[in-house]
């Protein structure tokens, strides 16, 4: 069974809330509602595995767990016979549930935002005077959470019940929160906020476009100055608070106030760093200002695991491994270093574990939550003990975020975040059957295999909640979209060129669009017959993200249709670049 093919399947995965809950929708918070999960193998993580154990869930908490636990009379029974129960999985760094910021709001900009075609909007943003977007540590993700009934369907289907979430743009990316991946309105899901202050060392603001800082060294200088200012602010207020009489009142500054718990070591920073040298820069910066820190990403930490140990660093290790670029005609054209880095990335977890570095897994930039477990399995193949892998997505992140009394294992009194799987979590053919979030059950329905145009679907009826179920049907349009395309968009401001590098796998399309402002990764893409539909996210030089769509028809090597951004559609045409 090919792993690649399975992912296409995941995309088509549909899930619904369990029927028993559906009947009660609209009822008030179900106080006292109880469930008993019985007959399954219970992997508690912190204690011994219980064969044929029972877990009683009430009021969103685990009321009891054990082999001989009496089942209360009012409990609804979930039969887990033959299945394995795990604590809900924790993704230790995501941007889940973060509302896209309205692109119009730029501080200090006169007049309303220009409306009209997307190109004009982007130009206007580039022209806008330097705003503090991405430079404000006081931004909190809690204010930006937007959760609907289906927002976390994919995450729950992949076994996730909890995640640390924060925006992903700017230098100061905002104060994160640990949330449960339920269906309640944003704030109700929050377990801890602020959990961390997130920082990126990337130079996303660009040269000449977005203002200072616009380079890797500028970002470091900016951060250094910010922390120095925060220290000065602390000193000013300390003096004033001790003896205000006769002293001028210092000015309140929201950004510097927000940095106080960070420089005082109460709130850790997450610093995104992927390469070995970025990791070193991140750690050095944190040490310079005595910050509590977590390094997130850390793809190349297999190179300096011992060094990280010597620093006492904690790592949020990304399971988004580097990928072979799409449409690579000549494999020899890649450097040996690139090939090595790709081959070595899955070894990072084992290296950290061996060196004794505390770490937890994050999905990093993975688009599909289901790939998390697939790649965790690769880390296990590369030498990470399986129980350590499980801990790195349950109890370790709970400990790292100071939530180990509530999360991360199946113990009495902890939050009833649970995953019921058909078998071993890391086995390829295992399917997630049920997930409990805050004691609320979600049944993960087997996905419908995508309809195969012009023929019965292959592997029909098997379905599966995650990769491993079946081979995707060979679409009539197989390979139709794959390749490099040059697109011309007719916008009111004139023609605009862009390229699209697409990969096709069954009916799933992945890849990215390349606009003159930067790359726009495809977040969702499909092709049915010759009709293609894409969704992508563009980040402007000002650090704002915008979602766009593309709908088109492919006719041989040409394509035409409409691209949409911010509610406006523009026609486009394009052609496929022939392979050399």
């Amino acid at each position: 069974m090919k792993r690649t093919s399975l992912l296409a399947f995941t995309c088509a995965m549909a899930l619904t809330v369990a029927a028993l809950i559906a009947a009660r929708t609209g009822s008030a918070q179900s106080q006292g509602e109880a469930y008993a999960i019985r007959g399954g193998t219970v992997v508690t993580v912190t204690g011994a595995v219980i064969q044929k154990g029972t877990i009683v869930v009430r009021n969103g908490l685990i009321q009891a767990v054990g082999a001989d636990v009496p089942i209360p009379g009012d409990a609804r029974i979930v039969d887990a016979t033959g299945m394995t129960v795990y604590p809900g999985l924790i993704d230790s760094h995501t941007a889940y549930g973060v509302r896209q910021e309205a692109p119009a709001g730029g501080g200090g900009r006169g007049g309303g935002a220009p409306t009209g075609d997307p190109i004009q909007m982007i130009m206007a943003q580039m022209a806008a005077p330097q705003t503090s977007a991405g430079l404000r540590p006081e931004v909190t993700v809690v204010d930006q959470l937007q959760v609907a009934e289906t927002t976390f369907d994919q995450q729950r289907a992949a076994g996730f019940t909890t995640a640390l979430t924060a925006p992903r743009t700017g230098v100061f990316q905002g104060q994160s929160a640990v949330i449960n991946l339920g269906t309640d309105a944003g704030e109700k899901l929050v377990l801890k906020a602020p959990a961390t202050l997130n920082i990126s060392l990337g130079s996303g603001r660009g040269f000449g476009g977005g203002g200072y800082p616009g380079s890797a060294m500028g970002v470091l200088a900016f951060l250094r100055q910010s922390f120095l200012d925060a220290q000065h602010y602390r000193e000013q207020w300390n003096r004033y608070n001790q003896n205000p009489r006769g002293l001028q009142r210092p000015q309140v500054n929201k950004s510097l106030a927000a940095l106080q718990p960070v420089i005082n070591g109460q709130v850790p920073v997450i610093i995104n760093a992927s390469s070995q040298r970025e990791i070193e820069r991140a750690v050095n910066l944190a040490e310079e200002f005595k910050l509590k820190y977590l390094v997130s990403g850390a793809t190349q930490s297999y190179m300096n695991a011992d060094w990280l140990k010597s620093k006492g660093a904690t790592v949020l290790l990304s399971l988004s491994f580097p990928q072979k670029p799409a449409g690579l005609d000549d494999p020899e054209s890649e450097s040996l270093r690139t090939l090595r880095e790709r081959a070595d990335a899955p070894k990072a977890a084992a290296a950290l574990q061996k060196a004794g570095v505390r770490f937890a897994f994050t999905s990093g930039t993975l688009a599909r939550p289901a790939d998390f477990l697939v790649n965790a399995a690769r880390a296990i193949e590369a030498g990470l003990p399986k129980d350590e892998a499980l801990k790195a997505m349950t109890i370790y992140p709970a400990q790292i975020f100071g939530l180990s009394e509530q999360l991360g294992s199946i113990e009495k009194g902890k939050i009833a975040n649970l995953v019921i799987a058909s078998g071993d979590l890391f086995a390829r053919d295992t399917k997630i059957k049920h997930v409990f979030v805050d004691g609320k059950p979600f049944e993960i329905k087997a996905a419908e295999a995508p309809q195969r145009p012009g023929g019965p679907m292959a592997g029909g009826g098997r379905g599966g909640g995650r990769p491993g179920g079946t081979t995707p049907p060979e679409s009539a349009g197989a390979g139709l979209a794959a390749g490099s395309w040059t697109l011309t968009v007719a916008s009111p401001r004139g023609e605009m060129k862009m390229t699209a590098n697409l990969q096709q796998n069954g009916e799933a399309i992945t890849g990215e669009l390349n606009l003159q402002f930067g790359a726009a990764p495809i977040t969702k893409g499909s092709i049915k017959g010759n009709e293609i539909e894409l969704e992508y996210t563009l980040t402007t030089p000002n650090g704002q993200t915008m979602n766009g769509t593309l709908k088109g028809k492919i006719d041989g090597a040409s394509i035409s249709g409409q691209m949409g951004m911010m509610g406006r559609n523009s026609d486009f045409t394009g052609s496929k670049t022939p392979k050399e």
Binding site: K2, R3, T4, L7, A95, M126, A127, P129, R168, G202, S203, R205, G206, F207, G208, G209, G210, Y212, G214, S215, A216, M217, G218, L220, A221, R224, L228, H232, Q276, R277, E280, R281, S320, Q323, K324, P331, E332, L336, L339, R340, R342, A343, T365, L366, A367, R368, V374, N505, A508, T510, F517, G518, A519, P521, I522, T523, G525, T537, T539, P541
Partner: protein, 474 residues
Amino acid sequence: MKRTILFFLLTLAFGATALAQSNEEILIRNATIMTASRGTIEGGSILIRNGKIAAVGKVADVKAGANAKIIDATGMYVTPGFVDSHSHTALDGTNEGTLSNTSMVRMGDVVNPIDINIYRQLAGGMTTIHQLHGSANAIGGQNSIIKLKWGKPVDQMKVADAPRTVKFALGENPKRSNSPALPGATRRFPATRMGVEEVIRESFTQGREYLQQWDAYELAKKRGENPLPPRRDLKLEAMADILRGKIDIHSHCYRADEIVMLMRLCEEFGIRVHTLQHTLEGFKVAPEIAKHGASASILPDWWGYKWEAFDAIPFNAAIMTRRGIVVSIHSDSNEHARRFYQEAAKMMKYGDLTEEEALKLVTLNPAIQMRLEKRIGSIDVGKDADLVLFNGHPFSVYSRPEMTMIEGEVYFDRKQDLENRAKLTAEKKALIEKERRTPGVAQPTVQQQPVIPTLSEEEIDGHQHGGPGRKKQR
């Protein structure tokens, strides 16, 4: 007391072991040694101990211990490792061009120790480089000095006791005349040469005020008061350190009038331009430069790539040298840096510099400009054993470096390199094959910040990808 003695003894013991371990001797035997300071020694030997040059002289005069590693250099030429006073190699950024003064940024923060250009330049005999901020703004960032210790971590590459330097820039680049603003974006101040001067004067003035603030604070503390310390401002702190003489100015410049402007401006504030960079019209104002006490780092025969770079001559190095200015040649280019010795050779042709004077342009003189002449730049006893072994005279186009060492450690060995190639090719093949057998999972990435590519210094300055006016002299 006993404990102190014990501690002292322990220190001695460990110190001795450490010394013994690194007390390795290398003897480079029977070479033509171009010292760059005391002429050329035919049939000479160099003894290296603990990474330093322990002896240099005629074969008969240089004796090594019994365990010394011998490198037979018969028929070879040895020169000091080359020193590039103007490089943008091995950095994860060039310009923080968003503001007119970005003296708070530090290139040392973004050294990239795995830049392949490090190895390529080692293969051309380069051993020390001055990593400069770009020239997009009047006052750029603080620069960094590294040795090209390929394979070593950044902190071991950095020259620990190197002086602090800062990049200034004059003319077309800081006024952005060749880099139009992005569509709709407002232009950054300054847009004229007058404006560039004003930015520098204003920055010096701010730096002086900042300095006074801190002096007043220190005074108050001395009086026993408990004042609130002034806010630390990294930009002004750098300006203050420039005024205190703790940071050397290395300024990008072309035109004679601007060179004089900057020197006068600095004199107004009681400081000196340490090194002029590019300095294409330096020959016109050589006496003024000499009087001011600046040194000059130049592009030897490279001009015509923009308006301010037209009025140049290849005799620049010779004229300024004869006026008593310490002149160096720089690469400003990953490509030129790989054959730096040929750049120096040209200067014997134009203006009749002697062989040693020409060699100094890429060794001792840049070392002086980086205040490292006590450590590097010539083959003298006590200096770092940064050496290049050539298979022929380094100024011949038919010669090539066979071996480059830094502090006695070999970082490039042509023989070794040729041997490794088959192994690396096989490894690459195996990795490609392995990927083919186990196709990866397709994982589109989301929410990554697309990085707007920053312009490289070459693009900004037009040296290599320059516009229609580009003409490269050879």
